[in-house]
Symmetry: C2
Subunit: 231 residues, 2 copies
């Protein structure tokens, strides 16, 4: 990984930064070239616009891009993406910890704040927040050099029957999903015991800390980040 010193400044527009962030996320999921259409879907633009932008990002050495062959971040592009992600997650911590927002209310605001351009600000904010390692959704916060803290969680869908876990985050951040969780009583830090796995659809029956019983679909379980605890 490229260790991008705080001093190096690559001028990137708001828009370019969003493309880099999205390419980063898609790459992390698939660990291979990212398709034009996949990027178009997340940037809420058309494939034609994405093609244009990829050519431009490629000229700026931020991505490796061969026509029709998909795109990958260069080390430089990844460093920029990680800086944006670092800012996004630090600001989310600020909004929740200091301003008292709920974790399902902060995404949109952080989408704006992540583009504020000041290395000094980011470092001071990090210190002010006590150098947090994870954001309010349980996502790891890269350090100044872009290094992610060790992941400490699994998906609930990977947990075997009988195990006890604590919920530490989610990997889907839509307000609908977060509100659904809230309604179910699934909050950060809540204890979950997997009671039953239904083979045909991989849905789960679980007990929460309060011993209430719940049904959780595989789709939901895949998006719940949990940490094992000793019984």
């Amino acid at each position: 990984m490229l260790l991008l010193s705080p001093k190096i400044a690559i001028m990137t527009s708001f828009t370019e930064e969003n493309y880099l962030k999205i390419i980063y996320k898609l790459s992390a999921e698939t660990d291979s070239e990212v398709s034009t259409n996949a990027v178009a879907e997340l940037t809420l633009t058309k494939a034609a616009s994405v093609s244009d932008m990829l050519r431009k990002l490629s000229e700026k050495q931020l991505v490796n891009y061969q026509k029709y062959q998909g795109v990958r971040l260069t080390e430089l592009g990844e460093a920029v993406a990680l800086k944006v992600i670092r800012k996004h997650r630090l600001w989310e911590v600020f909004l929740v910890e200091k301003l008292g927002f709920n974790w399902d209310e902060v995404h949109e605001i952080a989408e704006q704040l992540e583009h504020i351009d000041s290395e000094e600000l980011v470092e001071r904010l990090d210190e002010f927040l006590g150098f947090p390692k994870f954001d309010p959704h349980g996502d790891p916060i890269p350090d100044t050099f872009g290094i992610m803290p060790e992941l400490r969680y699994q998906n609930l869908s990977e947990i075997t029957v009988g195990q006890s876990v604590v919920m530490v985050g989610v990997s889907e951040h839509s307000a609908t999903f977060l509100q659904y969780l809230a309604k179910m009583g699934l909050t950060l830090g809540c204890q979950i015991v997997v009671k039953e796995l239904n083979d045909f659809d991989k849905s789960l029956n679980v007990n929460l800390g309060d011993l209430s019983n719940h049904f959780i679909s595989h789709e939901v379980a895949k998006n719940l980040l949990v940490k094992s605890i000793k019984n």
Copy 2:
């Protein structure tokens, strides 16, 4: 004055907001129509660009503008400008009070943060900061409704010989100026006694709190905001 409820949302771009803010400041100084050239100077653009933008702002009911006759904010435009100024000054308080920046380092960052769009964020930030009435430069912070707290200061240039004052702010925010003040020992809260007024150039001889004697030009005195104190 128009009391713009927090609910009303007029979509304004980053650029439009900067124009409105600058027109507001120029109007406050001269209390009459603002000229195209004056706006061009502060926006760092050309007069031709300003003409275009004024026509556009006029269509959006944000300014009253007659060709060749200068521009004035409408009540709506003023409300928007005040919201931007409110955000700018609140963020400056945050940067200085919470993150430990010096007051001469925060302007550029606040220029970015002032455009973050979330009423909820502004109100929570205000509360988090303890509802400050003045920013670190001594400038008043408008409340949610755009109402400015009572001004409590004069310019040092208006102070008569013999009076004692405390420095509460500056009206010029360039780093050069602020660093010049720092070098002179002129900091927020420092006591100033006007000892002598030189008639021909209106320069002042003053004593600071530590009894050191200083020469202050009229130009500098005009930009120092002070509050009278009883001797």
